[in-house]
């Protein structure tokens, strides 16, 4: 082999550089030179021997990828690209997560401040936080849909039972990865979601010593604290990614080993022809699959970037406070079904049932051994699956805030208009339009459409929680129940505990430069005893707090428009 200097002498500088570049490219691609790449991109037939197969044989990055696929599996159906998309999300979460890690300290003293630092001090910090959080939710959805697809097309059947089992575990890891990240901002949302989750886990049908120990290990103490945060952080950034990574490679190895199953109608019942690909049915990785994957990478990136910028903002509530329990603690949507179940059955039963369900999923393909993958032959299995999905959707809905426990009617109005966390009907009014004064629900304030709209919301919130005994046209007539002890209870269409003929007002006071207090007053006269009870709900609102932006994003009924 001639040295570069000798080549220059021989061919002249230009030709020598071209030759050298070609050589470097061939080394980097483990077998394809510049002309081969250009030919592939043009869609030309490969030369013989096919240089496009060499990167799969000699290179590291492609050695796990098959060099060709059955054309039958390269269309949107049957895979819907969901397995690929799940992999993309894993990479996406790793990259955005690593960037966020740079600005994060797993300590209760620092974590919450880190969030505000990321939001207010790190260029593109909010975007990366949104991308990571949105990616986490999308990933759970994608992995679940991937599992559904695998079931529907019968791809879990022999010989792919073990691939399915590792896939179930990967879904579990995905959910845990998403949920373990929940705690890290150390805000009220995080703290109480995790507290409820961990205490639920400790209600498992096991001896108290086991449950207590699990609780202690997961919380790092009698309550979630510094040690607990560190543990969940390490789970999130170390243990779970490691497990997910290992199982991902096992899973993918099996996928390559057995090939992606063809659409059920494409092969004879009981046959598995995925690995026996006739020459005319081959779609080569380079260039077809590769360009397709690069296109989907670009499209998914575009969706996640644009979605993080315009569709949705990751929430951040106030600092975690172990002594202040928010009125309504809500599980993330992908665990909402468990909250729904808790409303139906005993805690221990539910917590004991979930691992059984997991085991049932894992062993399912070893028990359901029907030979045919065709839809017409699997009516029972597909029906059971649809029923299960319906059950999960209904449970999820039952776990949603729609079905929360009601508190007192005045508090329901208050948290709807001036919630402790995040924006609400009155919090979103621009600061300069919060004119100090006293207002009644539904009042029209001239020249102030924002406040007028807020007071409209006040009226409609009151309407749902009030009723009248005196024919006040503002409220609906009370339905009256007489309880056993002789007291009367008043209800309306919306609630079984309504305020009879309430007098409510909103007071706005300026307490400091740029700080106002919004005070909701309620006065209810007990029609039986004549006793007057007054309650108050006060929330401060600072000119800089910028709830307007959150309000717009979360599409709550804020009074900004």
């Amino acid at each position: 082999m001639a040295t570069f200097v000798e080549q220059v002498r021989e061919m002249g500088i230009k030709q020598a550089v071209v030759t050298k570049a070609d050589e470097v490219v061939e080394r980097l691609t483990a077998g394809m030179n510049i002309n081969d790449i250009r030919a592939a991109l043009r869609g030309d037939e490969p030369r013989r021997p096919n240089p496009r197969l060499r990167p799969h044989a000699d290179g590291f990055w492609l050695h796990i990828r098959p060099s060709f696929y059955h054309t039958g599996v390269t269309h949107i159906y049957p895979t819907f690209r969901l397995g690929w998309l799940a992999t993309f999300m894993l990479v996406w979460e790793t990259i955005t997560g690593l960037i966020l890690m740079v600005f994060y300290t797993p300590s209760p003293l620092a974590a919450y401040g880190n969030m505000w630092n990321i939001l207010g001090n790190v260029p593109l910090g909010q975007l990366f936080r949104n991308m990571h959080r949105l990616g986490a939710e999308v990933m759970v959805l994608v992995v679940a849909l991937h599992m559904l697809r695998t079931f529907v097309t019968g791809s879990y059947k022999k010989p792919r039972q073990f691939t399915w089992a590792t896939g179930v575990l990967l879904l579990l890891f995905t959910i845990f990865l998403s949920f373990s990240g929940y705690l890290l901002p150390w805000d009220q949302l995080a703290y109480w979601a995790l507290t409820v989750f961990i205490s639920g886990g400790a209600a498992a049908p096991a001896p108290p010593i086991v449950n207590d120990t699990v609780l202690l290990v997961l919380q790092g103490g009698p309550a979630l604290g510094a040690d607990g945060l560190l543990r969940w952080y390490l789970l999130h950034v170390l243990l779970l990614p490691l497990l997910a990574g290992i199982f991902f490679f096992v899973h993918y190895y099996k996928v390559v080993l057995y090939g992606i199953s063809l659409p059920p109608g494409r092969e004879q019942v009981g046959e598995d022809t995925a690995k026996r690909v006739p020459r005319d049915e081959r779609t080569y990785f380079t260039p077809d699959i590769l360009t397709s994957e690069l296109m989907w990478t670009a499209l998914a990136t575009l969706f996640l970037v644009a979605g993080s910028l315009w569709l949705w903002d990751a929430p951040l509530e106030t600092h975690a406070d172990p002594v202040v329990t928010p009125l309504h603690v809500v599980a993330p949507w992908y665990l909402s079904w468990s909250q729904g179940w808790l409303k139906l059955a005993d805690k221990t039963l539910v917590v004991g049932f979930i691992p059984l369900l997991l085991v049932a999923f894992i062993v399912m393909p070893y028990i359901e051994v029907g030979k045919s993958r065709r839809y017409a032959d699997r009516r029972v299995g597909l029906t059971v699956a649809m029923l299960f999905i319906t059950l999960m959707l209904v449970s999820n809905w039952m776990g949603s805030p729609e079905f929360r426990v009601q508190s007192s009617p005045d508090r329901e109005v208050s948290i709807q208009l001036l919630p402790e966390e995040g924006p609400g009907g009155l919090k979103g009014i621009p600061f300069e339009h919060m004119t100090p004064g006293t207002y009644s629900p539904g009042q029209v304030v001239d020249g102030n459409p924002f406040l007028t709209r807020g007071l409209e919301l006040f009226q409609s919130a009151m309407f749902q929680q009030s009723c009248t005994l005196t024919g006040n046209t503002q409220w609906e007539a009370c339905k009256v129940d007489v309880l056993e002890n002789g007291t009367r209870r008043f209800s309306n269409f919306f609630t079984s505990d309504a305020m009879p003929d309430p007098v409510a007002k909103l007071e706005i006071v300026e307490v400091q430069p740029n700080l106002k207090e919004l005070i909701l007053h309620y006065e209810v006269t007990n029609p039986d005893t004549g006793e007057v009870s007054t309650t108050e709900w006060t929330r401060p609102r600072h000119a800089f707090s910028n709830y307007e932006e959150e309000c717009r994003f979360l599409n709550k009924s804020c009074a900004t428009d």
Binding site: G43, F544, S545
Partner: protein, 284 residues
């Protein structure tokens, strides 16, 4: 395949443009969020203040209107915080008085965290108090937010106190005879003196400051050449000038005295208060 290359390239370029667009908006967005952090900190601080601090420092932090948990008005034991002597200027009057060389923010934060003297408790977790570091920070931001142009435009000292009590009482700002009953009200409620000194008749014992039972005779013995009236008058205005010998917890500490040095400023709005309190204390 060609169409995929085109779609992928276009999608990638748009994604990068979206990145670029969001980067352009960043300076404004960063400022909004930095402000939002402060705004929400002040909001959180105002709630902590209302629940913990207003009992002693008053509902609007002027130490004039304090209520106990049942809603009864009680004497304000704390100093006014919504007060130009504390908040105005880079180095405020209070910081000068205390010889504080750090920032105003740190002065307030440290005082909240570690407490001061025997009345102001320690609030920070690290000193055994109930508040987390972020909460102390919130209260600090809330207190600092009282600073305003109106507050700082008001003169710090509103009244020129004559050096001698006799001269003051004979002056045009005092209506004689002074009213000891009103003096008692001022002593026990408005200025909250009895919280530390107890009552003059001894019905409430002194807790922190020297007992004022028999002050009308004891006062004359403390400083050469000053009768009781002059001694008490001077000590209310300048607590650190003379340190009384005996406090309930042992010898009185100081100088500086733990007694707030701002009664002169507070009574300056209505100098008759001083005359009435003197009448109450000295039994005239």
């Amino acid at each position: 395949m060609q169409i995929k290359i085109v779609i992928g390239t276009v999608a990638f370029m748009i994604a990068m443009m979206v990145f670029g667009y969001s980067a352009l908006r960043e300076p404004a967005r960063l400022e909004r969020f930095t402000n939002a952090e402060l705004g929400r900190s002040i909001e959180a601080g105002s709630e902590i203040f209302a629940n913990n601090c207003a009992t002693c420092h008053g509902v609007d932090a002027t130490a004039q209107e304090c209520y106990d948990a049942q809603g009864n008005q009680i004497a304000c034991q704390g100093l006014p915080l919504n007060y130009n002597g504390l908040l105005c200027g880079d180095v405020s009057q209070r910081m000068k008085d205390m010889g504080w060389s750090g920032t105003k923010h740190d002065y307030i934060l440290t005082t909240i965290s570690a407490g001061r003297g025997p009345i102001m408790p320690t609030w920070a977790n690290q000193f055994g108090g109930p508040l987390r570091p972020d909460q102390v920070q919130n209260v600090t931001n809330f207190v600092l937010n009282y600073e305003s142009e109106t507050l700082c435009a008001a003169p710090l000292v509103t009244y020129e106190w004559p050096e001698l009590a006799q001269e003051f009482l004979a002056g045009p700002d005092v209506t004689l005879p002074a009213d000891p009953a009103r003096g008692q009200e001022l002593f026990t409620v408005t200025y909250g003196c009895s919280a530390c000194h107890g009552t003059v008749d001894g019905s409430a014992p002194a807790a922190i400051g020297p007992s004022l039972v028999n002050i009308e005779t004891d006062g004359a013995t403390r400083v050469d050449g000053q009768d009781a009236q002059q001694y008490v008058y001077h000590s209310i205005l300048y607590p650190s000038d003379f340190i009384a010998p005996d406090c309930p917890t042992g010898p009185c500490s100081g100088p500086p005295s733990v007694m707030p040095a701002n009664f002169g400023a507070r009574m300056g709005d209505n100098p008759q208060d001083m005359a009435d309190i003197l009448a109450y204390l000295l039994g005239e």
